[in-house]
């Protein structure tokens, strides 16, 4: 047995390599996000930078939904509810916190200055609170199957929306806010009028940092045993259970994970738009996200990225056709569903398609010729 133990130990990579490998993608994520913010953003101009922001937020939201809808096959149409929860939590922290600690409602500090650190804290808080909601909703409801789960998530989304609408008025004057403590202000989320004057902290850096992190995590999840368990639940829940997978646990974990990133997405959204309107983040917003996932390809990470890019950019490009734009969009949706029901990518990733293999083989051949 000793010899075997030695061989195992020799195969096991050292701690340094393991930590390095697991952190490397996140370092890359920070670098890419930085490049997005400082190079690509200014290069494409204000309009396209705004569109890039929207695309990034859509990638984050649809990518998180993809883990529930695509990997685990659980049909959730209440994702905007988690967005709303996260948006409220983050806006509460940045708006009231800013007044309490910095004495102003405006943005404070430069890149990763005090204001942006507070905003990062807000995103985290939004994510955590949204995931707590995810746990509370997921535990009892994920025993339900198929359409019934969809309906309950729909009900949840609507309930969160109404709860947002009955919160108290938002004090907007610095002096009035300072008279109340942070915990007293937790119910002053603006009610039906919405939460306005949210400081505009969202930049391309934060959006793409979180989007890249989500994509890395989603990729790692997909090719891990946990992710395969989710895929098994999607393909056949009863068979998965017979294989020893705790299906409810797997689904709840996926749900909480997705809710966390939806909460962050909601915070980014709120700090980009500058306001939270509970009616905006209702049923139709959830449906928009589901459409991105289905059009992109259920369970495909690259598919969701493509879907988000296409579904955000196309309506912007066709903005001049005002009235007929949405009609064309609806028709396109129907036609795509009839002609290509599996979405753009199907269940495959970009690098799993034969097109990609052909291209990369041709490229390698060309490189080889160039070298010799």
């Amino acid at each position: 047995m000793k010899a075997l133990q030695d061989r195992v130990d020799r195969l096991r990579p050292s701690l340094g390599i393991t930590v390095g490998k697991s952190l490397a993608p996140f370092v890359v994520a920070i670098l890419l996000a930085f490049v997005m913010d400082k190079v690509i953003g200014p290069a494409v101009g204000a309009t396209w930078a705004k569109i890039l922001l929207d695309v990034g937020i859509a990638i984050l939201l649809a990518g998180s939904l993809n883990i529930v809808n695509g990997y685990a096959g659980q049909f959730s149409i209440g994702h905007a509810g988690f967005m709303l929860v996260g948006a409220y939590a983050a806006a509460w922290l940045t708006f009231y916190g800013s007044v309490h600690w910095f004495g102003t409602k405006e943005t404070v500090g430069g890149f990763l200055g005090n204001g942006q650190l507070l905003f990062l804290g807000g995103c985290m808080l939004g994510g955590v609170i949204a995931s707590v909601f995810g746990l509370v909703v997921g535990l009892p409801t994920l025993r339900l199957r198929g359409d019934y789960l969809a309906i309950v998530t729909l009900g949840f989304g609507e309930i969160v929306r109404v709860l947002g609408q009955i919160t108290d008025r938002q004090p907007k004057n610095v002096k009035a806010i300072k008279e109340l403590s942070m915990s007293d202000l937790a119910n002053n989320l603006g009610g039906a009028e919405g939460f306005s004057q949210v400081p505009g902290y969202t930049t391309l850096f934060f959006v793409y940092f979180f989007a890249f992190v989500l994509l890395v995590l989603a990729y790692r999840l997909k090719y891990s045993s946990k992710g395969r368990a989710l895929l098994a639940v999607r393909e056949n829940e009863i068979a998965a259970e017979a294989m020893g997978i705790d299906t409810t646990r797997a689904k709840v974990v996926a749900f909480v994970f997705a809710a966390f990133f939806a909460g962050i997405g909601g915070s980014l959204y709120a700090h980009q738009v500058g306001a939270i309107d509970p009616k905006e983040l209702g049923f139709m917003k959830s449906i928009d996200l589901v459409i991105i996932v289905v059009i992109g390809g259920m369970g495909s990470i690259t598919g969701v990225v493509l879907g988000a890019a296409i579904l955000v950019v196309l309506p912007e490009v066709f903005r001049q056709f005002a009235d007929y734009r949405m009609i064309a969009y609806a028709l396109a949706l129907i036609v795509v569903m009839i002609m290509r029901p599996q979405g753009i990518m199907g269940v495959k990733e970009l690098w799993e398609t034969s097109w990609w293999r052909r291209q990369s083989k041709a490229l390698l051949a060309k490189l080889g010729k160039g070298a010799s």
Partner: protein, 321 residues
């Protein structure tokens, strides 16, 4: 606070409850019929309801019945019939063009297609050449008559009409589903589509008839809703909440079950009207209690699904590998 709990108030609330329940029942039946046969949530149903209201307006305007005092007694029944026929044709067309090619596709695809159809109808409805984007009024079609006054409560023509029309249409539908050959075919297809088609049932015809019936009822619901609340909502996504509540009614009652839809509609209306009314009266100093209406509805939905996932009158099914 004391005047909120009188007998006349109870009567008024009961009438409201029955009228709202009838409205929900008419719309919920469409959801339940389609789900029973095709097993998918027809998200475009609420738009048929919206179109029902607006087509009625267009027909009535076209016939010149909306000018004050110009509405003859036969106007409303005629508008109702024409609109129901038009909406039935619309439902059949939608099924033929958008849903039938996807009969064998995963259900999520059909669902997205239904959402596509819904978006299509909403945005076509908003075009100026169709219904336009301005609210309108249709209440002139039905005189605001008070039939009787019981204990200070006005029993209005509109409420009685809604309740009677709902009862007539639900009984009519019940007779079709449980009393005719077509109804038997519908139930057979709902039970097992493949076997039904092997027994010589033309599934396509059955599905078309289902959509026609569901859409006609939705049109009736749309007209009644328009008469009750006037056409303050343009034919867009503002109707979705009404559709969602009717859908909740269908699910709570046990989706796929005709009687269940009616029962669920009554339960939802009870919660929305009765509970809302009396919880409100019990907390007069808390204004936010007045906005909890939707929470009661969706709360009931979640509670029912948690404890009886197949709905109050639905049958539990056992899934197999």
């Amino acid at each position: 606070m004391s005047d909120s709990f009188t007998a006349s108030d109870l009567l008024q609330t009961t009438i409201n409850f029955l009228a709202v329940g009838g409205l929900y029942a008419l719309i919920a039946l469409g959801y339940t019929l389609v789900y029973g046969i095709l097993r998918f949530i027809n998200f475009a149903h609420s738009d048929i309801v919206a179109w029902g209201g607006w087509i009625a307006l267009t027909v009535a305007t076209g016939a010149g019945w909306l000018a004050s005092g110009a509405s003859p007694a036969f106007a409303l029944p005629l508008v109702l019939l024409v609109t129901m026929a038009l909406c039935a044709a619309m439902g059949v067309t939608i099924e033929r063009l958008a849903y039938r090619p996807l009969r064998k596709a995963p259900r999520l695809n059909v669902l997205i297609t239904a959402i596509g159809v819904s978006l299509f109808l909403q945005n076509v409805g908003l075009l100026n050449k169709v219904f336009g984007n301005r609210p309108s009024t249709i209440s002139a079609l039905l005189a605001n008559d008070v039939l009787a006054t019981v204990g200070g409560v006005h029993i209005r023509l509109y409420d009685m009409l809604t309740i009677m029309l709902t009862i007539v249409l639900v009984v009519f539908l019940e007779r079709i589903v449980y009393g005719t050959r077509m109804g038997r075919a519908m139930r057979a297809v709902a039970f097992d589509e493949r076997t039904a088609s092997l027994m010589g049932i033309n599934v396509n015809v059955v599905v078309s008839v289902t959509f026609a019936l569901g859409s006609a009822l939705a049109a009736a619901g749309g007209i009644l809703f328009a008469l009750r609340n006037d056409l303050r909502m343009t034919a867009d996504s503002s109707w979705v909440l009404l559709g969602l509540k009717a859908f909740v009614a269908a699910v709570v009652g046990g989706i796929g079950n005709v009687r269940g839809a009616a029962a669920g509609a009554l339960l939802i209306a009870f919660v929305e009207v009765f509970v809302h009314r009396y919880v409100n009266a019990a907390f007069p100093d808390k204004p936010w209690v007045g906005q909890l209406q939707d929470i009661y509805v969706f709360g009931i939905l979640i509670l029912v699904l948690l404890f009886k996932p197949s709905g109050l009158l639905g049958k539990a099914t056992v899934e197999k590998v």
